[in-house]
Amino acid sequence: MQWQEIFGYSTDDAIFCIGADGRAISFAEFKRDLADASAYLSELSESKQSSTLKRAALYCTDTYVFCVWLFAGLGCDLQLVIPANNKRATASALANAIDGIDLWLGEWPAQEAAVATPALADAPQGALPQAFTGTLQLFTSGSSGEPQRIDKTLPQLMAEISAQQQQWQAITAGCTVLATVSHQHIYGLLFRLLWPLASGRPFAGKTYVDVAALLDDAERLTPALWVASPAQLSRRNDAWPWHKAEHLSGIFSSGGPLAVDDAAAIAALSGHWPLEIYGSTETGGIAWRQQQDGNILWTLLAGVALDTYQTAESQTPLLHVQSPWVESGFATQDCVAFVGERFELRGRADAIAKIEEKRISLTQVEQLLSASPLVASAKVLVLPKNAERSRDLLGALVVPTRVGALELSQQGKSALMRKLRAWLAPDLDGVALPRSWRFVREIPVNQQGKSPRELLMQAFENDHEFSVPAAMLPQVEATEIDRDDNRDDNAQPKRARAMLRIPADLPCLPGHFDTAPVVPGVVQIDWAVHFGKQLLQIPGEFAGMENIKFKQLLVPFEQAELELSFDTEKQKLSYRFFWESDEFSSGKLSFQHA
């Protein structure tokens, strides 16, 4: 593409960017930096055999620096590979891919020796590129698994920009673009960089973390636009200087749908209903909505054509997208319902989870976990936001290996959890690290031999009804209540049995004892009280014990049967923990009416 197709600045004096240090950078200054960076890349490609310099990985924190190397690379006909992060695993996945990486541009801590980006001031002086013929490779917003590589050409990206410009020019005209999202994703790349370039507007080089600072700058640089995401918009502080939002012409949000409460709260605080953009790395922008007046429907962007398709598994129609900026049509996994020209989104049809706008492949997290020497097998699921969880997060159900189980009983759950999180950390974005952990003897399966989500969920549901914390209880495999010959279902039952499995992650095991963990006797008595109250509905308070005997050690992973019988006259509960012919403990506990 030619200069004038990409850059809309009318004069060399025009402000191109507000640098990370707050200094205004002119279009002329950008051109000088670009010329220098281009000269550096040309020299490099001549010194190598030109055939070996084709693919360059690009990661920069600063959007201005990113912009300079991006266009230098495109001007040198490179393919620029733009991953979401510069983590070790990302770099090694890129390096090990079939086509590899010939040049590391920007910040690559893990590839230190190979990185070849000089400070711009040190680059040789040179001439500007004539045209931009290179291509881009972006990645889906995966924070786990193999993020998918999506090839894009500059003309494709600019075609979408022109549709966005057509839709929003009244709002965006003359605005400086401030962003709380990264340019390393398609949404940030388009909205905070390529779009301002095309319409000749300034953009801020830094990515704001603090909304208060963004609002201060909106006032200073008025009028401004905020390129945001649901993750940021859903975390607000009323004390931020929201009155300065009058200097914003609009707030864009993309990456996932914004909850209606968040949209309304932002509208109340800032005076702007966020402009939500629906799209993906594969498809680019598809549609937009504003949730004003209770609207939930999405309106197509100019140039986009939609139809639906159905698969054998899907109950609802899925969206198929065609637009000038999608190579050939793309079949999404998004369920959809049309209302006239507009449509409602009804969740995803596949098993990819989305947390905080990041796609997470649960299978990949499971595979990574299972590769740990501490883990025999693992299942990972999304635990939805509720009264106890302020956000959606991942839960992991883990069957430890012998080494893992020993670690668990010696060091405790918190230590093993931390070890496994550290094991995953180099390969996964933080959001994809499981937060809630359950260590079990085996992954629960249903009669069909499958482990549906509902079944796995049970392991994470805490039982608040009884006084013993759920983490302190054994796993219950079956219970049986014997109502005697009494046919009255409301009568207090006399006898009960519970089939128990001793979890290896009981908080009482560490230190008790280091080399051979056993369930302490007092914990067994607690369990007898707990199940007595639960199964036999014993109303009183625990008052004393007699004839307590500990015969054999009860150890993690073992099975035990608990036999309970309650003498209502004496208010005494007899209990016995045993398995086949082995008896672990027994005794009598007395209760008093409260």
Partner: protein, 86 residues
């Protein structure tokens, strides 16, 4: 200061719903993000918000020092103490 360190550990556990983590599990000088406790970018948002609300301090995230402030519980405690004293 040691009270503030303990208070911040409890705040971190509460705000971020760190299940099965006790204040004793968090080393006051270990990294909070990345290695160490392994918090993520969303945690950073939530923690920043909670600190602003609880201690009424402003966190200038664009300030280069912010990364240092958030590096560990000890650093956070120092930062909170200084901001309140200021």
């Amino acid at each position: 200061m040691s009270n503030l360190v303990e208070e911040l550990k409890v705040l971190i556990i509460d705000v971020l719903n760190l299940e099965d983590v006790t204040p004793a599990d968090i080393q006051a000088d270990e990294p909070l993000f990345g290695e160490g406790l392994g918090l993520d970018s969303i945690d950073a948002l939530e923690l920043g918000l909670a600190l602003q609300k609880k201690y009424n301090i402003s966190i200038d995230a664009e300030n280069e020092n912010t990364k240092t402030h958030f590096a560990s519980v000890n650093n956070l405690a120092k930062f909170v103490a200084e901001s309140q004293g200021a």
